[in-house]
Symmetry: C2
Subunit: 352 residues, 2 copies
């Protein structure tokens, strides 16, 4: 606390990310990082970008990256926005599109950064409770609101909403922006990108941090009608003209062009996830049906927080949320098969 802080700074409720120990002693299954390396072409492109041209500003529009994303999703470049992580893209979305007179709707159990943005930009929000089975009830989003945002698949539940249900929400809310946060979309759920042509109020955000193994590069993007993108550009140009550095533009561009690497990585993670869910159920966990690179699972006969602490002591980090409704669960990122084998061996010993 300081008398020099603004009232806003005093009132903030900052987000707490998962632990990021700066040594290598843990098996990290706690921040949904990809256990497989990024595309070798991305690494090559980042290294090539790290040359004397670093003395020059990057392209403020990051056109090469926007075009590569547009090509991947068969969109126009004007329908793509890029930023320094999807967190930055989301922040700009909150102030540029979701700050309205009526309250913003998002699920009570969802990405923990949404309330932090509301604090930063003084946005009124209503948290909509998920159903008892942790699914989003479409009818709850058919009430008057100033905007809607939810992850699909949702986090930390991992549960995906069908495109049919997403379309119902869009149809019911033609006057407000509906943001689908697709951070985990590439692990088995259906992207809403094909709906962009039909719904000018649909904005989709994605990230290079998960399915493209580039959490360390900080690149995210949004897709939607050109008018929505222009709104985000206005915010960006009132904040930072050049949010993406030269290495980030080059690496992300090369990454999205390497479709084969991306698809094979996602397939491996999906296969390990299915094995993980089955194994956890066999060990007496309730496992929510995940379409992400993590599983959200509740030990039926053990205390989740204690299990988290015991696993940490054994060198395995998973994520535990001390929050209503989910404090009986662990969020376990899908690692390599070898990492999951160690995890299961350790878990079996702890539960024995």
């Amino acid at each position: 606390m300081s008398k020099f802080w603004s009232k806003r700074a005093h009132e903030l409720d900052p987000y707490t990310p998962g632990e990021q120990p700066q040594n290598q002693q843990y098996i990290k299954l706690n921040t949904n990082e990809n256990p497989y390396p990024p595309s070798p072409k991305a690494i090559e492109a980042m290294r090539a970008a790290a040359d004397e041209s670093m003395r020059l500003y990057p392209d403020p529009h990051a056109k090469s990256l926007k075009q590569a994303i547009a090509d991947f999703y068969d969109l126009d470049i004007e329908q793509v926005f890029v930023g320094n992580s999807s967190d930055e893209v989301l922040a700009h979305t909150f102030v540029g599109l979701l700050k309205q007179d009526k309250p913003l709707f998002f699920p009570d159990i969802s990405y923990g950064f949404y309330p932090a943005y509301c604090g930063l930009y003084n946005i009124e929000a209503t948290k909509i409770p998920l159903a008892d089975d942790f699914t989003i009830r479409v009818e709850d989003y058919e009430k008057e609101n100033g905007g809607i945002i939810f992850p699909n698949p949702n986090a930390p539940s991992g549960i995906a909403l069908s495109l049919e249900d997403i379309e119902k929400i869009l149809v019911a809310n033609p006057e407000v922006v509906v943001v689908i946060d697709e951070a985990y979309i590439d692990f088995g759920a259906d992207t809403a990108v094909p709906l962009i042509a039909k719904y000018p109020n649909l904005l989709i955000t994605q990230t290079f941090s998960k399915s493209r193994s580039l959490a360390g590069l900080r690149v995210g993007f949004a897709m939607g009608h050109a008018d929505l993108i222009e709104g985000l550009e206005r915010v960006k140009n009132s904040f930072n003209s050049y949010p993406l550095d030269r290495a980030a533009i080059a690496g992300a561009t090369a990454s999205i062009k390497d479709k084969a690497h991306f698809e094979s990585t996602c397939q491996k993670i999906i296969a390990t996830r299915e094995k993980t869910s089955t194994a956890l159920e066999a060990m007496d966990f309730t496992v929510l049906p995940s379409k992400t690179n993590f599983v959200f699972a509740k030990p039926k006969k053990a205390d989740a927080e204690k299990l988290y602490l015991d696993l940490k002591e054994q060198g395995i980090l998973v994520r535990y949320f001390s929050a209503p409704r989910i404090d009986g669960f662990l969020r376990i990122t899908i690692g390599t098969d070898d990492e999951m084998d160690v995890f299961f061996k350790t878990l079996a010993e702890l539960l024995d």
Copy 2:
């Protein structure tokens, strides 16, 4: 314009950066980039960081970089804040420290991004006219205000304020935050860092974009009392947990440790600047006394805007501001001696 934009998005007045042509056909003297390459150690560090570990999030606290900056300036790590360019650092400063009930003061002729931040965060500002000789009048900042920010040296004037004058402003304003934006400090002016120990309301921002030749890497920082830094951390953690990517942390850390490269680069630019000022005066320009890596100069017998356009046609980009009081000036970034020779040759032909 779109009905989906927030009221805030409608009202924004985004900043317009200098032209960034994506081809190499111009001699670029328009965006104050450094004509010399970054430290070879920074390039090496960025390349080493571009490996398979990019799959992992970076250190959210960027401790290695903060420590290197603290070491350089003989500060504690708690007195250092880092961000994705000094623009981002400034943005967080505006909402976290400078958004107050009373109006923020900054010079009428100054960095064009300040009004953009005021628009983004709904901050009331009063623009304080510079004196006729484009200097800051200390007594103008001794009136009631909610905060003060100005660049030192100022931009685009290039004129530096003495530490004595800065201290007078600090003494007169103990209850508000005074931000000194030292983007260009390393080209001959005195940093206010030694005043941090004495004034808990002093915040200093700097960038790696100019004196350290890393405009393409997007790294900026702030220094001040730990309470001010904590306020900035609260904003950062409500916006983006990991603003700096792995390559940026590694490159900037190596850069600030390479003091010899930094000092020799700055000295070369200062020498060329002095020659440039003398040459421009000989060509009938009024040249403001610059302590930066650019000169702000007014052709006495030619139209500045026409000269800007003619130079551009000849392959040389300088910056022209179509704004009251300064629309007779050109801002000319200091290039290499070879680049400046071409510039002078072309200028002589155009003025002939």
